[in-house]
Amino acid sequence: MAKIIGAVTTSHIPAIANAMANGLEETPYWKPFFDGYPPVRDWLNEKQPDVIILFYNDHGLEFFIDKKPTFALGVADEYHNADEGWGIPTIPPVTGESELSWHIANKVVDEGFDLTICQEMRVDHGLTVPLNLMWPGHKYGHVKVIPVCINCEQHPMPQPKRSYALGQAIGRAVESYPEDLKVVVFGTGGLSHQLDGERAGFINREFDLKCMDQLVSEPEELTKYSNLDLIEIAGAQGVELNMWIGMRGCLTGKVTELHRNYHGPISNTGAGLLLLEHEHLD
């Protein structure tokens, strides 16, 4: 049977891609951020997951507001990156896991989550930055990725409790898949930040740290926030917490925190990194 063996949360901002492309990891500005990652990379290299289920939001590469899926699931064998308009380097294709993707689609839609199912999907920095952070030098081709895309751009957006429930349904779907696969779930984006308006630059360190604690030990507390609450407490783009909450929903068994780092600011955000181990309760 497929098993979820762990989870990772990480920022996905484009500035990280630029820093890596320009070899800035050891500069004073970036070092406290990148220093958090080696333990996570080591764990992934030791555990050798077959599949990454990756929660992210599209920032106007695949989806425009002509048609904006609330939740979208990739079911392709391969995903491509493309020019996002600001010159971060386009990177090699990402390998998909079509069979498990369709299994998740079948189970989760039957449970009442009306996903948009995508056989072609250009993936932006929201998905590619986390992969390149875990496997620098774009060495992620061996791992199969299932993109789960949440609308974090246009209100109405799915509420945290709904993202959590979707994660739970995905978790159950994975557990019912007959093939022996090791699965790790990534929740990307966040934490507190605001890019737009006179309030741009807002970061709430205290909230970010509390959020990381609660994500581990009492995730249902986080589902009590509405997206409007998150805007107030964590900034307009603080709604990206939905991806972390969706990830956490997938972990229905015992969760142990193995590693964490919090550093800010990177670009305009507070960046939280968590590595969680997950054991199924059979």
Binding site: F64, Q154, Q194, L195, A200, G201, R205, G264
Partner: protein, 120 residues
């Protein structure tokens, strides 16, 4: 008038909902096109003609020419698409933050550091 998603107001924040998505549709569509190098080149060759091609309003065009990010938000711009316009202008998110808050870029960066340390 398109119904707003929420009555709740957030100072200095422009909630991007149906009303804004409708108002800013042409503006965001133009900015979305900037994903393509060819579109960026075409805009740079003749910004006004490019704005006219997407049928921007006079207010939207003025905000584009003035690099008035707050004005663009008021006109229905989504920060995700405006970021692509910023990319075309070779501005990063700290430059955009400075433009919106009326700070210098260094002042804006200092504020980010203080916020992230929890000093504010």
């Amino acid at each position: 008038m398109t119904e707003r998603y929420a009555d709740r107001e957030f100072p200095g924040t422009y909630l991007f909902d149906g009303a804004m998505a409708k108002k800013g549709y042409a503006l965001n569509k133009m900015c979305y096109s900037f994903n393509e190098q060819q579109a960026r080149d075409e805009f740079n060759a003749d910004p006004e003609a490019y704005c006219n091609k997407y049928r921007l309003t006079d207010t939207q065009k003025k905000a584009i020419f003035d690099k008035d990010i707050i004005g663009l938000l008021r006109e229905g711009g989504s920060i995700y698409y405006l970021a692509k316009y910023a990319g075309l202008l070779k501005l990063n998110m700290q430059d955009i933050g400075a433009l919106q808050t009326g700070m210098s870029v260094d002042e804006f960066k200092d504020m980010l550091v203080k916020n992230a340390r929890g000093e504010v």
